[in-house]
Amino acid sequence: MIKMAVEIQQKKIAKWKIDEVEELTEELKKNKTVIIGSLEGFPADKLHEIRKQLRGKAIVRVTKNSLFQIAAKNAGIDVSKLEKYLIGPNIFILTNDNPFTFSIFFEKFKLKRYAKAGDIAEEEVVIPAGDTGFSAGPVLSTFGKLKIKTRVQEGKIFVAEDTVIAKPGSKIPDDAIPILQKLGIMPVYIKLGLKGAYYEGLLIPSNELKIDLGQYASNIAKAYQESMAVAVEIAYPVPEVLKVTIGKAYRNAMALAGESGYLTPETAENVLSRAMAKAYALASALEGKVDLGINIPK
């Protein structure tokens, strides 16, 4: 049916579009996972970096949403689930691998670019001490506005000391943009924002696609510590556990000796210090009321 329709409209539709849809349809049939990322604000000249990094792992396609939609339909994908993502410039990543492997990859995949007006600093932006390459002139007043200490040496502007011009979360001053460019400082990260993934009929939205590796690591640590705590409690007979259990048993014994006033050379310090703790507590309670003729340590 679709093929017929395409043939009928052949005069209107460019051949490359038909080829592209056909190719994409085949690729979609061969791959279980489609990840859709937004190219909004993503510099076109950095796309090749993504292609390079994913070579052999996934197929990277930048195409019109309308063409993708047709190809997806042809490939038997439930497009209604994806429609909300098919707006604006998109990149489509096709793979048979675990979609989360790619969301982790893109979380780590960071490129840098020059600052543009209105950019917010993600980390401290520093103008380093030294030669700026600028000739002394009107630009000096820009340095002044940014509160960067300078001196002029052999007609060139030198920065006196490393100067932070934007803290994380604050706007990078517009005045600083040409200076940063001249110094070759790219303070802004480019990240590919993932909109969602489609995997065998399941839709994984971006918030679920995002993996917090730190959280996983800390959950593993927590699970391990919980396991140790339980193991110690039941004296699970492996050395690493029994070490802790023995310490606990010993402290239990000392506490018992101390509270019962069971005096032996071994327990004397513990027993007497507990008794003294109580005596001092009582003496403290009497302080200011009775002159005991003693000094209560403070």
Binding site: S218, K222, Q225, E226, M228, A229, V230, Y236, V238
Partner: protein
């Protein structure tokens, strides 16, 4: 620690830490199960309040993590 991990898996799934359940989990992980050990762990865990122990362990952990080394 496999037996402990298996026990806590069952605990967090709100399943009984019985010998049979432990064996099923350990087998699924491809572990050659030692009957006596399963018995011992199941019996020992019956005597403690796991929830309590986990609460203490977690209090400990938060503090430790928060400690500025």
């Amino acid at each position: 620690m496999e037996y402990i991990y298996a026990s806590l898996l069952l605990h967090s799934a709100k399943k009984e830490i019985s010998e049979d359940n432990l064996k099923a989990v350990l087998n699924a992980a491809g572990i050659q199960v030692d009957d006596v050990r399963v018995k011992a762990v199941a019996a020992a865990l019956k005597e403690i309040n796991i929830e309590e122990v986990l609460k203490n362990a977690s209090a400990m952990q938060v503090a430790a993590v928060a400690a500025p080394a």
